[in-house]
């Protein structure tokens, strides 16, 4: 009983706490994932913005180069002039409509710079198709709003028209990128009206410095201080970086963004300290609240347990008190019974001495009542003590060789005066005279409780029929009255402890409501039962007991 309560209280504390902890853990995990996804989106949009701004730069360059190209008159003089005037353009290459090198003059004379230039571009000169395979700048995406902060005004892509694209035929312009001496070089090419291809080789240093000038400053004021973005070239070298965070040598980047053509081999890498700190903090928060709730529940459970224990203790004290009082009542009650019965004998003899003794002498009647009532009180105390012992599961049988009919005879004799007073006639059909193993006290208590009910409730029937029978190991005793009987609906409930049939008949009759409960429990302890049989009139209780025959002397009297 105590252990069960303890276990259920522990469950009451543990289950919700565990559930809360699990839910909290889930919440933290989900939150972290959402945060990570948000961060990734943010990073990607930032890096994408950087890419767009670089694209913008190339577009600006393309725009101004196209302007320059349109003003060309084709003379070698003007072509040379461009590279002198424009800080961005290092050399100009012209390939005629026939696919042959037109400028610098194929046969020379070449300056030193032109020689080097032709060396650098020898692959293109040999195979001009290589150059015109260099694609145009990709279609511009809509500017990414998050990237705005990163874009310098200079690279603002607004207002620059998209590269003109012929509806049909070979593309009219594009960018070609190649490596020379581990250096990335760019050439903008344009096909003019006369199908000549004019290529502008850009100065790599100028391009690089322009791009870098367009990126946020290294001191990282623009970028979040807890991160760093690196511009990495095709051979994996860091060209430029901004932001205050210094990642470890082997730290993995949070995001990588490959740049678009013509910086196709380059990429942006984003580093930031892991989000673990925040996750740990929110985990700790969840853990703390779970611990607090768990503690609160534990305190509550402890309180309930103490209250319950106190209630149990008080109830136990009450039971003990009732038992104690019942025991204390035994000695005075013994004296009352003993002396009332002695007095009864005296009075009977005194009356017998007077020859014409009135059969209904008052003294005899009064003493009869005292004796009957003291017997009733004895039964009551017996029931209270048995009940207490049942509660503590202490009641056990004391089997001894005895005759069932003997015990019943004795009980009926003890009840005789009380039944006579109520005008109830008793018949006993005794068929259970074998010597068997039984607990006579238990049988007495069962039988007395049934007959006591007859005396209390069924006196109008004026008859009590008792019959006993034995068959092998089983003894059956029927106790039948012809009183008002028990309603069908109450048939099982009458055996419940403290249940009392409510009716005009029972109202005003005192009782504890434990008699039938005890009778049934005792009978069950004795391997049998007490049941209510269906009869046309009155009530018929049947006692069934397991009574093994006693030894070879079965059938003889003790």
């Amino acid at each position: 009983m105590r252990n069960k309560i303890l276990a259920s209280l522990v469950l009451i504390v543990l289950l919700p706490t565990a559930l809360l902890a699990w839910l909290g853990q889930r919440m933290v995990h989900n939150e972290q994932q959402v945060l990570e996804a948000q961060l990734r989106t943010l990073i990607n949009s930032q890096l994408g913005g950087v890419d767009t701004s670089i694209q913008g730069y190339f577009r600006t360059v393309q725009h101004s180069l196209l302007e320059e190209a349109r003003q060309l008159d084709g003379s070698a003089e003007s072509l040379r002039k461009i590279s002198l005037v424009s800080p961005l353009v290092k050399h100009v290459l012209v390939i005629g409509a026939d696919g042959k090198l037109a400028f610098p003059a194929p046969l020379g004379p070449w300056s030193q710079a032109e020689k080097e230039f032709l060396q650098r571009t020898s692959a293109i000169v040999e195979n001009p198709a290589l150059l015109t395979q260099g694609a145009a700048l990709p279609e511009r995406d809509a500017p990414v709003p998050a990237a705005q902060g990163l874009l310098s005004k200079k690279f603002s892509a607004a207002g620059i028209p998209a590269a003109p694209q012929g509806d049909a035929g070979p593309p009219a312009l594009g960018w070609y990128a190649w490596h020379w001496n581990a250096e990335l070089r760019h050439m903008f090419w344009w096909r003019d009206g006369r199908q000549r291809v004019i290529g502008f080789e850009l100065a790599p240093v100028a391009v690089m410095s322009d791009i870098i000038a367009g990126l946020p400053a290294t001191d990282g004021r623009a970028a979040a201080s807890r991160s760093v973005t690196r511009l990495v070239n095709g051979s994996g070298q860091v060209v430029y970086e901004w932001g205050a965070y210094r990642p470890a040598a082997n730290e993995k980047s949070l995001a990588v963004w490959p740049l678009s053509h013509p910086l196709g081999s380059w990429k942006l890498e984003y580093f930031a300290p892991p989000l673990g700190g925040g996750a740990a903090a929110s985990s700790f928060g969840v853990l703390a609240s779970v611990v607090v709730i768990g503690l609160a529940l534990a305190v509550l459970a402890l309180y309930l347990y103490r209250e319950h224990s106190r209630e149990m203790r008080i109830a136990q004290q009450r039971v003990n008190f009732v038992n104690q009082v019942s025991h204390e009542l035994k000695t005075p009650l013994t004296n009352i019974r003993l002396y009332a019965e002695l007095l009864q004998t005296e009075v009977e003899q005194a009356l017998a001495d007077k020859d014409e003794a009135p059969p209904d002498s008052k003294a005899e009647k009064y003493i009869g009542i005292i004796v009957a009532e003291s017997q009733r009180l004895s039964r009551l105390i017996g029931n209270v003590l048995s009940f207490g012992r049942f509660q503590k599961a202490e009641l056990r049988l004391n089997l001894e060789p005895a005759q069932v009919d003997d015990v019943i005879q004795r009980c009926i004799a003890a009840f005789q005066p009380a039944l006579d007073a109520k005008g109830i006639a008793v018949t006993f059909d005794s068929q259970a005279g074998a010597l068997v193993l039984l607990d006579p006290q238990a049988l007495e208590q069962i039988f007395n409780n049934l007959v006591g009910n007859v005396e209390k409730y069924a006196s109008v029937g004026a008859t009590l029929q008792v019959s006993s029978a034995q068959d092998g190991m089983v003894t059956t005793i029927d106790v039948r009255d012809f009183g008002p009987g028990i309603a069908a609906a109450e048939r099982e409930r009458v055996f419940e402890p403290f249940y009392r049939v409510s009716s005009q008949l029972a109202d005003g009759v005192t009782g504890t409501g434990i008699g039938l409960d005890i009778a049934r429990r005792l009978a069950r302890l004795h391997g049998g039962d007490v049941t209510l049989r269906e009869v046309d009139r009155g009530a018929c209780f049947r006692i069934v007991l397991h009574t093994p025959p006693h030894g070879p002397s079965a059938g003889e009297s003790a």
Partner: protein
């Protein structure tokens, strides 16, 4: 036959004494365990009625000591508790029976008679004898404290048996009231003059077919009784 009654409650002690005496036994009374042992050693009663909860020595201790001296003397415990533990301990000590409080006279009488029957069957008493005697159609079985008429069995007290035996021994003669009283109650027994007559009238109700017109115990007016 002597019965030791050891019980600390004065009224129960005296009530039991009255019951036992009416049955024809000589009661010896003790209010505690020490006194009970003294009386046992001095008087060697045939039956012991021992209360369990007694001052100075409890019933178990008394029983244990008695068993050291006499393994057979019947012991009936008087107990306020009917708990298992009492019975187990009692049975180990060789108790013959129990009377559980609150008890009535019938219970006490039934148990004492049962113990007496067992004792007499086991160890016949010279004073009572075991020979069956016939009083007309009534057969008296002294050591069973019973009489039989045809199929009917009649339970008798020790005193009833003594009275019938005495009248049988003196059959045909008039038995004087004083002689009958001395033989069945003892010389030192103080009783009022009605005790004998009351007892005889009760006995007649048990054994006579018609108590108003007795055939076995006939009254000899002014002198005593006679059996023919």
């Amino acid at each position: 036959m002597k019965i030791l009654i050891a019980e600390d409650d004065l009224h129960i002690r005296e009530g039991l004494s009255a019951v036992v005496e009416a049955e024809g036994y000589v009661p010896l009374l003790a209010a505690d365990g020490e006194r009970a042992l003294q009386i046992f050693h001095a008087e060697r009663p045939q039956v012991l009625l021992l209360d369990i909860m007694m001052p100075r020595r409890d019933g178990y201790a008394v029983c244990r000591e008695v068993r050291n001296v006499d393994a057979d003397v019947p012991v009936i415990f008087i107990s306020a508790k009917s708990e298992e533990i009492d019975r187990v301990v009692g049975l180990e000590l060789g108790a013959d029976d129990y009377i559980v409080k609150p008890f009535g006279t019938r219970e006490v009488i039934a148990r004492i008679r049962a113990v007496t029957r067992r004792t007499l069957a086991h160890k016949p008493d010279k004073g009572i004898g075991s020979e069956a005697i016939c009083l007309g159609d009534l057969e008296l079985l002294p050591d069973q404290l019973r009489a039989r008429r045809g199929e009917r069995q009649i339970d008798l007290s020790l005193r009833d048996v003594k009275i019938l035996q005495y009248l049988f021994q003196q059959r045909g003669k008039v038995v004087h009231r004083d002689a009958l009283f001395n033989a069945c109650w003892g010389r030192d027994y103080f009783a009022n003059s009605r005790t004998l007559d009351q007892h005889v009238s009760k006995l007649r109700k048990l054994i006579e077919l018609d108590a108003k017109n007795p055939k076995i115990i006939c009254t000899v007016h002014g002198v005593g009784y006679r059996y023919d």
